[in-house]
Structures are given as C-alpha cells and as structure tokens.
C-alpha cells in the first residue's frame, strides 16, 4: 500500500513541478447558497490561468503559429483559440428558466435558455485569405466548438448571428494590435438546445483532474440533470497583466423540497457523491457555503473560517473525505416571496392569429430609484417587428419619453436576424410596459422544421442594467496568482460588480402559418379540388343552352 502511494506521488511529481514553473495556475471553487423558496443553488468554478500568454493576432494567421505546450490549460480548447485567433469567448449551455423573482440574481450571470455563444475577434489581414475574415472564423469557431462540446452550436448560423453594440461588454481586455482594426463582436443563441450528459463529458475532459478528484468529482450527471435548473459555461478572456484565463463553470439549482418537507441538504443528498480526494494540481480548492441568518441550524463539519456570513471549507488531503451537510432545526414553510432581483421582466407573445401578433414586455422596478436599462431583442427573421407600433406606457399612460435611444437592424428574409437595442428609463416603483406589433413570415414549405407544428423558439430578450452614476468601468485585475482567498474573493466581487448586470427573459414559442403535413389534409384538398372542377361543368350545363352552330363554308 505504501509502495502504491509512493508510485502515485512519483506520477504526480511532473504535474506539481509544472504547476510551479510553467506559469499556469488552476483554482477551483464551489459556492452553495440556499434560496428563499427552499431550493439550493450551487456554482462550480474551475479557472485556469496561462500567465503571460496573449491571444493570437489574426494578422499573423498566415504565419505558422508557435508550438503550444500546456500542462494545465486544456489543449483542445487552446488549439481552437489559436487556430481562429479568438480574443474573448463565452459559451453557455443552460437548461431551464432562471426565476429571477424567486431566486434572485444568479452567481453566474449568463443564464439564457439553451445554447448561447459570443466572442470578440479582430479582423484578419485584408485580402490575404478569405478564411481569415471575422465571419469565416466565426463560422469555423462554431463548428469547432460544436465538435468539442457535442452541441448543436454549428446550427447557430448567419440567420441567428447578431452583433448588438451595447448589451455585451468584454470581461477582459481587448489587445490593440497595430494593423488590425477594432475587435468585432458576434453573438448567437439557440434556445431549443437540449443540454445533457453528452455535453458534460467533454466539459469534464477540459479539467486537469477530470472528474476523478477535487470538486469536479461532485459533478454527477445523474443528479445534475435532475436539478430544476442547470447550466454550464466556458469563458475565455485576456488581460495584459495576467494573460489568458479559462473559466469553466457549472451552476445548478436543486430542490430538496421536491420529494420531502425538509430543506436539509448535504453533498451526498445533492450530488450522491462526496469529495474523496483533493485535486493535486489545484493551487486553491475551496467550498463556500452561505450560512443561514436568524434561523437555528447545524452544519457538519464546522467551516474552517467564516467571512461575510460564508463558511469556507478548504479542500486538502487532511479535510477529505468531505461531505458538508446543513440541517435546519425548524420546519420550512412556503410563503409568498418578494421580488429578489433588481428588476422583474415579463415577455409574452400575444395574439391568436398566425400572421401577426404583439410582443408585450413589462419591466417592473420595485426599487426606490429610477434605473436605466438596455433592452436587447434579437429575433430570427421569421418574426419581424413593426417599429412604428412601438408603445411605452406606465399604468396605461403612454410615456414616449422613457425611450432614450433606439437602434434597429431589420431582418433579411432567409438570411439575417433582426436586432433591436433600446435604452429605456424605468421610473422607481413602477412597471413599464412595452408593446410592439410583430409580423410572422410565411415560410417556404421546405423551411419548416421536422416537428413543424411545434413552432419556432425565439431567444429570450436581454435587459442590461446601466449604472446610474458613471462608475469607472476599469475593473481590478483578478489574475494575480495568489493563495490568499480572501483577497481573491474580494477582487472577484469587485469585478462582478463592475460587469453590467444582465437579465435574461425566457424563450418564446411562435407558430407561423403551418400547413398540416399529414395525409387527411391532402385528401381534403384533393377532394375539394375535384369537386370544384366538377362544379364548373355542372354549372355550365345548367345555366347555358348547348347548341352546335355550323359555320358557313366561307
């Protein structure tokens, strides 16, 4: 046994060495908090820094790239980033509807339903190779990520790609290369994407410890995909002082009350697993648990430290196996929950007709201060907005003054999606309702999806809260390699606050006029046609005299 452990240590030696010398760091963190309605939100974050690395300049795409040697940084991802010269990349694969009103603002902000991909890329050298243009690289990037994550990201084609100008801001910095112009932004989303195990497996493969040790061991697909909400994310960004960072996140909302009456939870009840081993290459490995306030509870084991009402559990060889469990002494009572998020947004498609309808959005600001928001709507071309019908009202009173700015990119049928970005002011303690007429396209019969009667899913709208006072947008760097968790967490908080808050609305289902592709329908049509033909002859026979006239010989 001792021999085996020695061998194991020997195998780990190169990893440990690289961890200290190659300029790459890996940290992992699990954050668990109870939600007001008794559910439990968990967020895994695995981040890998490659210190000193820079994104590839697309001007040099025709020149051979320097060789890629990684120890902790995922090679499969690194190759894609270098090949297509991507500066910043975000991919989220979520399932479910994030209930802002009951669960509050998510720890991982991007909770759009289905698949969403957005990236910043610089323009390649002009006229050199058409494959180096932003659009070509965006297409190739989608295909490469589709292969890597086993997801339908490849179908996020030009019909779904948009470039909204205000709603998204880069998380890191964008390098200013001398020859190439400013970075271009591309965004696409596919709300009907189903996220499941086949996406989690490649996700785990990008981690240095896979799911064998460390926190990733808790990622048990049987439990994660039974949760009320789950989503995984991949975020790549760059900062000049730190290099390239890859952040892999997995967020989920469990419901301990689904089958019982107690909201007690533990690792074994949530994940059906415990942390059995620490990940040896992780520079820091932490579990943070938000502790209840004003309620009697017991927690097992006791947290190592307690900061800001959060229990901190570092994972080391001494603390494993770790199975944190919380027990409440009082039974849980469901009650009406006050809105938890700064804004409450509802979006509905109204109208029973198949050719037109109304998009009705209501944004409620329960706070006592007015806020300014960017409202972003990206719609596939099958739905187009009639902008002249756009109406803003508060309690039924038209308030055109609330609209500060608007930009609209009209759709091109069969080619391009439409983008509507509006800056709205939401007065304090009021509900602004936005209504705009929509038209639904008449599709070619080959354009209908296989389950035609289901309809088309429209991606959710995005509401971005703008800072009322102009805070400096410059966030504090987060990539300083340090083990001082407290300092790091503080930086993370500062950074998260610096990012504008995005609120995603649920997707909508729209059914355009759809023929019934079934046999009875065809039979009815054929029969009606036949009857119409016969009617003509019968009508003539009944209403006209039938006479043969002999034409004169001339």
């Amino acid at each position: 046994m001792r021999k085996l452990r020695f061998l194991w240590a020997l195998c780990l030696l190169p990893a440990c060495l690289s961890h200290s010398f190659s300029g790459e760091t890996f940290t992992e963190e699990l954050f668990i908090r109870g939600l007001p309605d008794g559910k439990v939100a968990s967020r895994f974050e695995f981040s890998t820094h490659s210190h000193g690395a820079t994104p590839r300049n697309p001007q040099n795409l025709s020149v051979e790239d320097h060789s890629q040697h990684y120890t902790l940084f995922p090679l499969a991802l690194g190759q894609i980033l270098r090949e297509y010269a991507v500066t910043e990349l975000h991919l989220t694969l979520n399932a479910g509807k994030w209930n802002y009103d009951r669960w509050g603002y998510p720890d991982e902000p991007d909770v759009a339903a289905g698949a969403a991909l957005w990236a910043w890329m610089a323009e390649g050298s002009a006229g050199a190779n058409p494959r180096h243009s932003v659009d070509a690289r965006w297409r190739d990037l989608r295909n490469a990520l589709a292969g890597l994550f086993c997801a339908s990201i490849a179908s996020l084609d030009e019909q779904r790609t948009t470039s909204p100008a205000r709603a998204f801001t880069p998380f890191g910095a964008l390098p200013a290369w001398p020859q190439s112009g400013p970075h271009a932004f591309r965004h696409a989303s596919l709300p009907s994407e189903n996220v499941c195990t086949e996406n989690l497996t490649p996700f785990l493969k990008l981690l240095p410890c896979k799911s064998r040790s460390g926190l990733a061991h808790l990622l048990n697909p049987h439990r994660l995909f039974d949760a009320d909400w789950h989503g995984m994310g991949l975020h790549v960004s760059w900062r000049p002082e730190d290099g390239v960072q890859v952040r892999l996140t997995f967020q989920s909302v469990f419901d301990p009350l689904r089958s019982g009456t107690s909201r007690d939870w533990s690792f074994s009840s949530l994940f059906d697993r415990t942390v059995d081993q620490a990940c040896p290459v992780a520079a820091s490995s932490l579990v943070l648990v938000t502790l209840p306030v004003r309620e009697p509870y017991s927690i097992q084991p006791e947290p190592a430290s307690n900061a800001n009402n959060r229990g901190v559990f570092p994972i080391t060889e001494q603390t494993v196996p770790l199975d944190i469990s919380i027990h409440w002494l009082n039974p849980f009572q469901h009650a009406t929950i006050a809105a938890q998020a700064p804004l409450s947004v509802r979006r509905m498609l109204r109208g029973a007709a198949q050719s037109h309808g109304t998009l009705a959005v209501s944004i409620t600001n329960p706070g006592s201060a007015a806020v300014r928001v960017v409202y972003l709507e990206t719609l596939p071309w099958i739905v187009h907005l009639y902008l002249h019908t756009l109406e803003l009202s508060v309690d039924g009173i038209p308030r055109a003054d609330l609209l500060e700015d608007i930009s609209y990119i009209a759709p091109v049928p069969h080619e391009r999606a439409s983008t509507l970005e509006a800056i709205l002011a939401i007065p304090a303690n009021s509900t602004v309702s936005l209504r705009v007429g929509v038209g639904r396209a008449f599709l070619r019969y080959t354009e209908h999806p296989p389950d035609a009667q289901r309809g088309w899913e429209l991606p959710g709208a995005v509401v971005v809260l703008l800072d009322s006072e102009n805070k400096p947008q410059k966030p504090v760097g987060r990539w300083v390699s340090t083990n001082k968790e407290a300092a790091q967490r503080k930086q993370a908080q500062v950074l998260a606050q610096a990012q504008p808050r995005r609120i995603y609305t649920p997707a909508l289902l729209v059914d355009p006029a759809t023929p019934d592709f079934s046999m009875p329908y065809n039979v009815i049509i054929f029969t009606c046609s036949l009857v119409a033909f016969i009617f003509g002859s019968v009508f003539n026979g009944l209403t006209r005299r039938f006479v043969v006239l002999r034409a004169s010989p001339e």
């Binding site: 309605d37 008794g38 399932a95 479910g96 509807k97 209930n99 009951r102 339903a113 289905g114 709300p191 995909f225 039974d226 949760a227 009320d228 909400w229 789950h230 419901d255 009350l257 689904r258 089958s259 009572q333 469901h334 009650a335 009406t336 509802r346 509905m348 109204r350 109208g351 029973a352 109304t358 009705a360 389950d451 035609a452 009667q453 289901r454 309809g455 899913e457 649920p506 997707a507 909508l508 289902l509 059914d511 019934d516 079934s518 046999m519 009875p520 329908y521 009815i524 009508f539 026979g541 009944l542 209403t543 006209r544 005299r545 039938f546 006479v547 043969v548």
Partner: protein, 619 residues
C-alpha cells in the same frame, strides 16, 4: 367487334361527335333534373338518418405515435387521496360559511402557495345587457424543471359544475382534485411542460376572462385584471368536473364554442387510459346505454341488438348536434378551442360508486403523462368527427356528404330556375331554322336582378336590426312583451310585397321566380360552406331550409298567399318566443362570443323570409 368499334368511334368529324355526345348528356341531365333533385334530397335525408347506424363509422385509434397512452406506471396513491379529502373538507367549510368568490379564490391561492407553487388571483367583471357578472379566478403556474417554459398544459376546474348547464351545483371534488394534483405533480421532475392550474369562478365566464387575459385578447365588455403569472403556449387542457360523491363512469364532453372540436387523439388517449389504467368505463356525455328499451315484438330478434345500438348512438349524435349546431360548448373546455388549445371535460357521472379520487387521480396523471410526451401541437386534421360511442366514430367522409347532397339539390333547383326564367316557350311560332333540335322556339326575356338583390339585402338588414334590438337591455328586461312587440313589425313588414305590381311575364321574368332562384343558390352556398366549419349547423340548416325553400311558390289567391307566408314566418321567426333558449343564446353571444344568435338573425331568418316573399309576390 366492328359494331362495338363503330359505336365507340363513330364516323365523321371527331370534334363534332364529341360535342354531340356532350349535348346529349346535358339534355338528358336537364330533362331529368327534377328526378335528380328528388333523388339527392332523399339520399341526403336518408344518409342523415343513417348516421347513428352501427354499420357506419369505424373504431377509434391513436394517430399521433408520440402520445403512447397508458404506457406508464401511475404513482398517485392513497396518500394523495387523503390529501384530496383534506382539501375537500376545507372547500366544504368555505361553502357552508357562504364564502364569497374572492374568499374562495384567496383560499385556493393560499393552498397553492403553501405547496411552494407561485399562485395568484384574477378579478373580472363582464357587463352585458342582463347586468354585471363578477368573479375571481385562482390559478397557479408550476414551472417544470429544466424546461424553458415555452409550453404549458392546463388542468382546470370551474367552481360550478356543468350539471344542468351550470345550474349552480358546486364542483367541490373537481377543485379538490386540482389542488391534490398540484401537491402530487410537483414531486416529479419528469414534466417537459409547465403545468398551469386554474380554478375558474362560476361556470364558464371565469375561464373566458382568464383565457382572454392569458392571450391578451381584448373583449369590449370585459374588465379583467392582467395575469401576474404567465407561462408559455398552451397546447392541451384537461377540465375536471366531479360534482357527485362518487362516480360510475367518466363522460367525455368535447364540443367547443362555435362548433370547434378538439383533436380526436386527445379523446382517444383519454378513453384508452381511463379504460385500461384507471379501470373506469367511459361514456360520451353522461347518459348510460339502456338495455331495457322497448322493441315491438314483430321485429325479428336478430335486429334487436342493432336497433338498441342505433337508439343509443342516435342519442349521442343528437346531443352532439345540439351542442355543436348552437355553437354552445358542452363545458368549460369549450372556451379553450378558440385559442387552438385541445381541451375536453372529464365528467364524473354521479353515482353511488365505485370510483372516486383514487381513480380520477390516476386517470388524470396518466393523461398528463401522455400529453407531456407531445413534441408538437396535436394536428393531423383529426378535428372532423362525430363520436357515436366512445369506441366508434364517424369520419368526415361518412357524414359530410349528407348535408352536401341536400345543398347540391338546392343548387340544382336554383340554377334550373335561373336558366328557366330567361326563356319562355313560344309554341305558336313555327320553326324556321334548325335550332336547338327540340322542335320548339324559345323567347328570351329579361331578368331584372337588381330589385331582387335589393329585396334580399333588405331582409338581411331587417335581420340585422332585429338582432341589434335583441341585444338591448330593454329586450332582456321585459322579454315576453318585447318578443311579441318585435315579432309583429318583422312579420308584417314583408307584406309590402303584396303591393308589387305584376308585370308582363313575356318580356320580364317574374320577380318571384328570380327571388326563389337566388334564394335557393344562396342558401345552398351557405349550407355547403358551413359543413366544414360546423357540420351540425349545416345539417340543421339543410333540414330546416332544404325542402321548405324548394317548395315555395307564388299563387293566385290572396288568402293562400298569406297562409303560405304565415307558415314561413312561423318557421323563420318562431324562435323569438322560445324565451329561455333565446336568452341563453344571447348570453352566449355577449359573454362568450358565440356566433349562433347573430347567425340566426342575419342569415337564417332572412333566408326563410325570402321564401315567404316568394309566396307573397305576384305570379
């Protein structure tokens, strides 16, 4: 052989032969048109009589493979029955304390909230000619795990049962079932669609207000609160009606307002599940098949079974036609169809046993699992059918032609009259040229269409005025007096037609003939168009209009003219004295937007009035 060849391909110009052949065919057709007409009428009416026959129709089947009904193990158990009993006790307490609508709704909302399901209430007020109608709905939206909330299923129960068309019997056990189901369904993560629970106030008006608010439809006489909670597109809805203590059968009520029907797959799945999972026999509507019906002894015994079946099926068909023709939904589910939601009511037929919460819970759970499987809206044109029994139905092809045949006969009659009115035979004039081969000379005369169309239009306008008076609050407040007051002018105004002078029929076609021709053509068009939209209405029109409109004719003597006219007035306007029925039809129009009342006023009555005018006009 040569003879046959000569017959098939006679010598001479081929085109000329073809034309002669056609001419012969048309003239045979024209000569026997009267016979053809009578045959079509007979065929059509006999076909209608044959609709309930067990020899017509076929067994039901599931068309949509995704449904897979009855293929799950149900988990609803006695614990859930106990929950339902507890909810029932609370509801009975509310009933005994004479709680208001609002208190009811708040109590139900509180129960949903206790389960952790977001719930809310909605107040509404309808204003109609009969007064104000207020109420409060309670509803809850259970967001299913991992779904984006784009689709939803509805489970609903109205507070008043459909017993006696909403005569006030409370649907306590239906509401208790909905609450217990909410408690039960939230425990499972297998739902692919959001589940919306609705407890609507009163019988139908509560659901009308809720659905209008959900879909953002404006109704001018409805003030309803906006819904605080919303979900996605609703595809299917189940309405639970369980008024008795126990039930012996589950009845299917499926007719929607304005003659819409839900997709038959939904009903067939429910029937399959109820029969095989719940073990509850299924009925169409709520009447049982009686085995003791009296059959005269002179009928051979071998036919007794068939006659009994015919008897039972004809009851079902009659009820179907009764609901569909009047456009009146047979329950709360009927309101869903206007928003393309397939819905039906499962009605627990009150009895002393043996079924209760345990059976209905299992049936609803399994039916929900079935509709949960749907990847797309139910479609496949499975919307045209008549259920004769729960297991057998008539396809569109086996009932639609009956009404169409009548309509064709009327069209033939109308067109024949139209072409006849242009010509009169002039036997006195000798044949000079080789004409149409009949040996007689025809004189053409003019057909003044404009005055006839004007006459028709004025009857429709009269119908419109009649309708607008009917919807005033003056009419609804003193209905008996108002009916008589309204009947008199409408019935006497067309008597002006007696003043129309007769014209020389050698030059101008008689107005009565033209009016009858156009009247028949118009009525025929109305019937054949209505067949697909609302077969029962078309069939009723075919029965009421077919023969009467075809036999209208002017006559010489004034008393005979007036008597004939009076008969038509009775047929076309007699309904004005059907007090209760009229009141219901008007209520349906004002609150639920059922088109039956305006249709009768503006289409049916004028058509019969036109036939009456034909009798009044000079020869």
């Amino acid at each position: 052989m040569d003879r046959i060849r000569a017959l098939l391909r006679p010598a001479g110009d081929r085109n000329l032969n073809r034309l002669h052949r056609r001419q012969a065919l048309v003239s045979v057709f024209m000569r026997h048109i009267q016979l053809i007409k009578i045959t079509l009428f007979c065929l059509g009416y006999l076909w209608m009589l044959a609709l309930p026959s067990p020899r017509l129709g076929r067994g039901t089947y599931i068309d949509e493979n995704a449904l897979g009904p009855g293929q799950v193990n149900t988990r609803w158990n006695w614990g859930d029955v106990a929950n339902a009993d507890r909810y029932l006790e609370q509801l009975e307490g509310l009933r005994d304390s004479n709680a208001t609508s609002e208190q009811h709704a708040k109590a139900i909302m509180t129960e949903f909230t206790k389960l952790g399901i977001p719930a809310s209430t909605q107040n509404y007020v309808f204003t109609s000619s009969t007064g104000k109608l207020e109420g409060t709905n309670a509803y809850a939206v259970l967001s299913s795990p991992r779904t984006s909330g784009t689709e939803a299923m509805v489970i609903s129960a109205s507070r008043i049962s459909r017993v006696g068309e909403g005569d006030g019997t409370p649907n306590l056990r239906g509401v208790a079932t909905v609450l217990a189901l909410a408690n039960f369904l939230k425990r499972y993560s297998l739902w692919a669609k959001d589940i919306v629970f609705v407890v609507s106030d009163n019988y139908v008006d509560g659901m009308q207000a809720w659905l209008n608010a959900y879909h953002g439809e404006a109704q001018s006489n409805l003030q309803a609160e906006e819904l605080e909670l919303a979900s996605g597109v609703i595809w299917t809805a189940l309405n639970i009606d369980y008024p008795g203590h126990s039930f012996s059968h589950l009845g299917i009520f499926h007719e929607g307002i304005n003659g819409r029907l839900p997709n038959q797959d939904l009903l067939n799945s429910f029937h399959h599940i109820s029969r095989w999972t719940g073990g509850v026999p299924v009925l169409v509507y709520d009447h049982l098949e009686s085995h003791q019906s009296h059959i005269p002894s002179w009928i051979p015994r071998s036919l007794h079974q068939e006659i009994r079946q015919y008897n039972y099926r004809s009851k079902n068909v009659f009820r179907h036609i009764g609901y569909q023709a009047r456009g009146r939904g047979s329950g709360v589910h009927g309101l869903f169809h206007q928003f393309r939601i397939d819905a039906f009511t499962m009605f627990g037929v009150p009895a002393n046993g043996p079924h209760g919460f345990h059976s209905i819970g299992r049936v609803v759970e399994s039916t929900l699992r079935t509709t949960n499987n749907l990847l797309e809206r139910l479609h496949a044109s499975f919307f045209f059918y008549i259920l004769t029994t729960p297991e057998r139905f008539l396809k569109i092809g086996s009932f639609l032609p009956s009404a169409v045949l009548i309509s064709v006969a009327m069209m033939f009659g109308g067109l024949k009259l139209w072409s006849d009115s242009a010509w009169i035979p002039a036997a006195t004039v000798q044949l000079e040229k080789e004409g149409d081969g009949e040996g007689s000379k025809w004189i053409q005369r003019s057909r003044p269409v404009i005055p006839v169309l004007g006459m028709m239009l004025s009857t429709h306008i009269l119908g419109g005025i009649l309708y607008s008076v009917l919807t005033t609050s003056w009419f609804s407040n003193n209905q008996t007096v108002a009916s008589a007051l309204l009947f008199l002018p409408v019935a006497t105004l067309p008597l002006c037609a007696l003043l129309v002078p007769s014209q020389d029929t050698r030059i101008v076609a008689p107005v009565s003939q033209l009016l009858k021709a156009l009247n028949l053509c118009f009525a025929s068009t109305v019937i054949s168009i209505t067949t697909v939209a609302n077969f029962s209405l078309a069939m009723s029109l075919a029965i009421l209009l077919g023969i009467p409109l075809s036999i209208s004719s002017p006559s010489q003597s004034l008393p005979l003219r007036v008597i004939k006219y009076a008969a038509y007035i009775g047929l076309g306007l007699g309904w004005i004295f059907a007090g209760e029925e009229l009141r219901k039809a008007l209520w349906d129009w004002e609150i639920l937007r059922v088109w039956f009342a305006p249709f009768v006023c503006a289409v049916y009555t004028p058509l019969v009035l036109q036939a009456g005018l034909v009798c009044l006009l000079p020869v």
